[in-house]
Amino acid sequence: MSETYTLYNSTVMEHFMNPRNMGDLKDADGVGEVGAAACGDIMKISIKIKDGRIEDARFKTFGCGSAIASSSMATELIKGRTIDEAMSFSNQEVVDALGGLPPVKIHCSVLAEEALKAALEDYVKRNPSAAAKAATTDSVAA
């Protein structure tokens, strides 16, 4: 076979084959682990916060190709964002940055959003002062 056919587009495939930010963060400031009841995928995102910004992010994912690619892309996207910015992060950003996902796989990007928010929540819980600042956004409580 000369041509290569792929289930996902080339960006998704690239992130699946060579995921960015794969692993755990030693001394993470926040860790979120979430699961998709629908399909059984599990995603864990660790973040390092410095001066109110996400300095570093890592993921580990038990899930399909698009779940791995989504977590890779999500961790890429959020690096450098403030906590507030990160709090309003949406899965659509992941989908767009990946150049689209099959409809049945959109939930993978949602899982990435949830994992990130869980990590932020964890950070906020550990750092009540940050919590006070972030309390203006509803998404934390949600």
């Binding site: 979430v34 699961g35 009841a37 994912t61 038990f62 190709g65």
Partner: protein
């Protein structure tokens, strides 16, 4: 890169002999079998020959018991609904095994909406139908029992003679879906006393576009695709002559080469499973061990702590074509119901990979697959939070429990808020 096709359960390439036989029926002998002139009569002859070849493969008495449909799915639909509608007056109850193919399961669900009832007979952890439950399930209202010969996912060979005896004793017609066995195991419809048997040549080096339904003269069915009076009035629509001709030749070849093919794949099946067991920790074979209870083409594996689609995609990127019954590869986001029916732990169902062998596979292929698969498993485990958590004693292995940590399923339910399905 080496290319290894290990998904023969999904489809097989058409043999050159089969293709050559089909060829003239596209351009030269293009007639419609309903026509009364040369062009029609010629293809009628060809149809008859193909029916004889199909009948021979399964030990049917006469080619008149062979009906052509478009695929295995349609054959299942015709067997199930055709028998249900034809025997409505006797009763509206059907009995099937819990691991039938979706073409059987969903035909039944459709009938259930129309007022039929159905009993799904459980299977052992190896996927073997529980004969006592089967016997108990049959009532005077039962118009059909459906038990497949070999399971498409886990390769379990069902005890068809015993199933046939129960049906004979209870005087209920038996339909046997042989899609996953035809061409790979001997089939004798008379030995089983089967009322109906279905299969499709594209699983044994024949073309797509044709399904076969054997119907014993005594079994009553009505048609489900209505229109003209093709196929003895039991399947309307212009017959797909080239595919039927090719399917017939494939059946003839399958019969001739059956033992040769099995002799080729059975050692490869063992080599593959032994190799994986040795080189991939925390891997499990689902269904019976290679041997008399398992079709020689199939391995159904669970690689713990990682999910199936990733394994499948990485195999593909390394030239290895496999399938998976995990929820991520299904369009419905559900694991194969077969894995559910054998009671497989959800964690293992998620890591499911199905490898099915064929006559072109070699020992070198197998060794390449073992080596490559070991790398893939460790790459994906490196990315998996579950592997991590297992190593840290947070969760335990199902395959080789250490006694430390909670179960994967419990953990998954906790992080997702709901139990997975």
């Amino acid at each position: 890169m080496r290319q290894v096709f290990l998904d023969h359960q999904s489809s097989t390439p058409v043999l050159p002999e089969v293709f050559d036989a089909m060829r003239p029926y596209f351009t030269e002998y293009f007639g419609n079998a309903s026509s009364l002139h040369q062009h029609g009569l010629r293809v009628r002859d060809a149809l008859k020959r193909a029916r004889q070849q199909m009948a021979a493969l399964i030990g049917a008495e006469s080619e008149e018991e062979i009906y052509f449909t478009s695929d295995g799915t349609e054959s299942s639909n015709l067997a199930i609904k055709g028998a249900a509608y034809a025997n409505e007056r006797k009763g509206k109850h059907l009995v099937i095994s819990a691991t039938e193919h979706p073409s059987v399961m969903n035909s039944l669900e459709f009938l259930e909406k129309q007022g039929w009832t159905c009993t799904r007979v459980g299977v052992t952890p190896q996927g073997m139908i529980r004969l006592d439950e089967l016997e108990a399930a049959i009532t005077p209202q039962t118009v059909l029992v459906a038990v497949h010969h070999v399971n498409h996912d886990i390769g379990t060979i069902q005890p068809m003679r015993e199933v046939g005896q129960i049906c004979a004793t209870k005087n209920v017609p038996l339909y046997v879906d042989c899609e996953a066995s035809a061409g790979w195991l001997p089939i004798d419809v008379k030995e089983w006393g089967a009322a109906m048997v279905s299969f499709s040549p594209h699983r044994f080096y024949g073309p797509k576009g044709v399904g076969v339904l054997y119907r014993n003269r005594k079994a009553r069915i009505v048609s489900v695709i209505h229109g003209g009076v093709q196929e003895g009035g039991r399947r309307a629509g212009t017959e797909n002559i080239p595919a039927i001709v090719g399917g017939g030749v494939a059946a003839e070849i399958a019969q001739e080469r059956l033992s040769q093919r099995v002799t080729h794949v059975a050692p490869l099946q063992k080599r593959l499973w032994e190799g994986l067991k040795l080189n991939v920790p925390y891997i499990q074979l689902n269904g019976p061990e290679p041997g008399p209870d398992r079709v020689a083409t199939n391995l159904n594996l669970s690689t713990e702590f990682i999910e199936g689609e990733g394994q499948l995609l990485l195999c593909d990127m390394n030239g290895i074509a496999v399938a998976s019954g995990s929820s991520c590869v299904s369009k419905s986001l559900k694991i194969s119901h077969v894995l559910g029916a054998i009671g497989l732990d959800h964690a293992l169902a998620q890591g499911n990979i199905i490898m099915t062998l064929g006559e072109a596979n070699t020992e070198a292929d197998i060794d390449y697959v073992v080596e490559t698969f070991a790398k893939i498993a460790s790459k994906l485990r490196g990315m998996s939070p579950m592997w991590d958590e297992f190593e840290h004693g947070v969760i335990d292995s199902v395959i080789a429990p250490t006694g430390r940590g909670k179960s994967f399923s419990q953990h998954a339910a906790e992080v997702s808020g709901k139990p997975a399905h």
